[in-house]
């Protein structure tokens, strides 16, 4: 086993895992609070990638070139706009179904996912899009010879740092503020929370906004790093992020991050040492196996169905 490849794939896996974790947060919070899989969440991430490229081009056209300023502005604009998308999706497709049958919200979510994909395809074209390389530069570690080194790009470092900051902020919002307390109360018992004066509809909206904003962070960072995307990226990334959420224990915030990192590491070590063609098959198989053998995940509590 090649030590350099192992370290390199671990670094790549951590980066990939941070991205999965950021998206998984949206799945896990929504599932925790209203018990539905927000199938359109992956497409919200895809929208964030497009918005990043659009805002980047717009700022460049306006003559703003200083990298830190551009980066922060793009990130904030994308987060705001994507959060609005997240809110609208909930308002249009899920809120009217609050008291409907069990399958209705999931089917509606699949419809919403189709709508978002086709909306972006029709307005931006079906071809692969890109952004100019925005952050170049890299570090080399453990260098001993021309082909033996571990390379970490600045964009990768940025992804991990921003993921940690984003998760920290979210953790503070949920654990340290009155709004977060209301979120946790709704998650524990929606009817009781409503009886005690929590506006549950507002809290559910907030959860969708927070989830979309975190997906926007992921979308922006991935676009800065890879610079290439199309209207279909949300599907596979969304399923993998959902796998991460289930792996960590759906409903648990630290679980989502942990699940994301485990999945990212597993996937990148698998593609480094076994086979790149089958890396998606590996991730999906992991999903199936986890759901069959440990549906409550690593940090989740088993669900008891009540009459």
């Amino acid at each position: 086993m090649n030590f350099h490849i192992l370290v390199q794939q671990t670094v790549n896996g951590l980066v990939l895992g941070s991205v999965y974790g950021l998206i998984a947060v949206g799945y896990t919070m929504v599932y925790g609070i209203i018990g539905m899989i927000n199938f359109a969440h992956g497409d919200v991430y895809m929208i964030a990638a497009y918005l990043t490229a659009i805002f980047l081009a717009a700022l460049t056209a306006l003559g703003i070139h200083s990298p830190p300023v551009v980066m922060i502005l793009v990130l904030l604009l994308t987060m705001a706009c994507t959060a609005l998308y997240g809110w609208s999706v909930e308002r249009i497709a899920y809120r009217p179904l609050r008291h409907s049958t069990r399958l209705a919200p999931l089917i509606s979510a699949i419809g919403m996912s189709l709508i978002l994909q086709n909306y972006v395809r029709l307005s931006q074209g079906a071809r692969n899009q890109g952004t100019p390389t925005f952050l170049d530069g890299h570090l080399r570690l453990l260098e001993d010879g021309p082909d033996h080194f571990v390379q970490i790009t600045h964009a990768q470092i940025l992804i991990v740092v921003m993921a940690v900051i984003g998760m920290g902020l979210l953790w503070y919002l949920i654990q340290g503020t009155a709004m977060g307390r209301a979120c946790r109360a709704v998650q524990q018992d929606r009817i009781m929370a409503a009886l005690l004066g929590v506006d549950t509809d507002r809290i559910i909206s907030i959860v969708f906004i927070l989830g979309a904003a975190m997906a926007a962070v992921a979308g922006t960072l991935v676009t800065f790093n890879y610079g290439s995307f199309d209207f279909f990226i949300g599907f596979v990334t969304g399923i993998k992020a959902f796998t991460a959420a289930v792996l960590g224990g759906i409903g648990s915030l630290p679980g989502a991050m942990l699940g994301g990192i485990i999945l990212g590491l597993a996937e990148s070590i698998f593609s480094g040492f076994v086979n790149t063609d089958y890396k998606d098959v590996f991730a999906f198989s992991l999903l199936v196996v986890v759901l069959i053998f440990r549906p409550s995940g690593l940090l989740g509590r088993p669900e008891v169905e009540k009459v």
């Binding site: 717009a58 249009i92 399958l103 999931l106 089917i107 509606s108 931006q124 899009q129």
Partner: protein
């Protein structure tokens, strides 16, 4: 009252403008942007008008008593059911002689979709198990025939039951561990399974040919081939009956065969629904805990629905492969599953007639509206959301008149 609507509509319009402006107002072109400033304005205007229209509708609906229009229509259908079915069947059987080659192929595709939608309807509509990877069984059937022919020299008539059985086995194999799961998890696992099958078909170059696909032969009729010239030791259809060669015979034959299979399937489903097994499916869909306390085994009942649905999917796959003459993995994406699911939902989950109508309409309509092909996915998505919000039981609705016919309850 009026003012609050107007304010609502304006706020909605503003939100819509904010949503649409960056995404539709500019389009990425390379690393620069091209402006389409009028697009978001029109879209937002459309949203405002839609919002006002909805507000008006809601107010009217609140004022008026619940209307019973449509009741009479469905009663009429109920009363003339046998005649209607007979007429539809007769029309379907004579149809291939009156439509051209192009529409005959569309009709064949429509019946394949009807078969698939009927299979998915057993799983989603009757048993209430949301299967997002139905296309996997379709792929198993299609590749079962294609690879069976390539490696084992299977004929269509052997592949038909073999493909269905193979898909059924896959269904049971997947279903056995998975069916104990919570409903939403089941949906995701089946989705993952569907993608695994497609990715394996796509990547296993040496066995499946990967994206290049596999060639598939056309079925023969009692050894009579439909080509221009027969293979060694065979006779062609047109030579045997002393007819001039035309490949229309082949399509008509295929159409009729498919129609017979679909009719058989409809018959089986209708019978099953009245048998204890079918009743168990529907009971389980409504309340699993109540069923368990009445002694129904959820796993075996679900497994029978899942296996039967998978078999139907496999059957559809064999027909699809034979009609196309070629299969490759691009026919088995998640979009295909969503497409079949949309048919089941629009037809009304559980309603056989509704699902058939929806499958035919959703296959034929896009062919007629070629100019709008771009918007197909968007319309499907909108239809799914709108159905869930307004008519979760489907356009035709589900009929629950189960007991009064035998005179037990009334």
């Amino acid at each position: 009252m009026r003012n609050s609507w107007l304010r609502d509509a304006l706020v909605t319009g503003l939100v819509a403008l904010l949503l649409f402006a960056p995404m539709t107002g500019v389009a990425l072109s390379g690393y620069t942007l091209e402006g389409h400033w009028q697009r978001p304005l029109w879209l937002a205007l459309g949203v405002v008008i839609g919002r006002l229209g909805l507000g008006w509708l809601w107010q009217r609906r609140q004022g008026a008593p619940a209307s019973s229009s449509g009741r009479g229509w469905s009663a009429w259908i109920d009363a003339h059911r046998p005649q209607l079915i007979g007429a539809a069947l007769a029309v379907a059987f004579v149809l291939p002689w009156f439509i051209g080659k192009y529409w005959l192929n569309v009709a064949i595709l429509a019946w394949i979709y009807v078969l698939l939608a009927l299979g998915l309807n057993i799983v989603v509509g009757l048993a209430g198990l949301l299967d997002l990877g139905f296309v996997a069984f379709y792929a198993v059937g299609a590749y079962g025939y294609a690879l069976g022919f390539k490696y084992l020299d299977l004929s269509f008539w052997t592949a038909l039951p073999a493909g269905a059985l193979l898909a059924g086995c896959f269904g049971v194999m997947l279903g056995f561990p998975v069916l104990r799961m919570h409903g939403d998890y089941l949906a995701i696992v089946t989705l993952g399974f569907g993608e695994i099958i497609r990715l394996v078909l796509n990547n296993w170059m040496s066995f499946t040919g990967g994206p290049n696909g596999v060639r598939v032969p056309f079925p023969s009729l009692f050894g009579l081939e439909f080509g221009r010239r027969a293979g060694p030791g065979h006779v062609t259809f047109h030579e045997y009956f002393n007819l001039p060669y035309s490949n229309e015979y082949r399509d008509i034959f295929f159409y009729l065969l498919l129609l017979v299979v679909v009719s058989g399937m409809v018959f089986v489903v209708r019978r099953l629904r009245r048998m204890p097994l079918g009743r168990n499916w529907e009971a389980l869909r409504e309340d699993e805990i109540a069923c368990r306390s009445l002694g129904i085994q959820p796993v075996s009942v679900k497994l029978s629905a899942f296996g039967l649905g998978a078999m139907t999917g496999g059957l559809g796959g064999v027909f699809f492969a034979a009609s196309q003459g070629f299969v490759n993995p691009t026919s088995f994406t998640f979009m295909e599953s969503a497409h079949i699911l949309a048919m089941v939902i629009l037809g009304g989950m559980g309603s056989t007639g509704g699902v058939i109508v929806a499958a035919v309409v959703l296959t034929v309509l896009p062919e007629m509206l070629r100019d709008f092909a771009e918007y197909r996915g968007l319309l499907f998505g909108c239809a799914m959301v709108a159905m869930m919000v307004w008519r979760p039981r489907g356009l035709m609705g589900m009929r629950r008149a189960l007991f009064h016919r035998s005179g037990v309850a009334e």
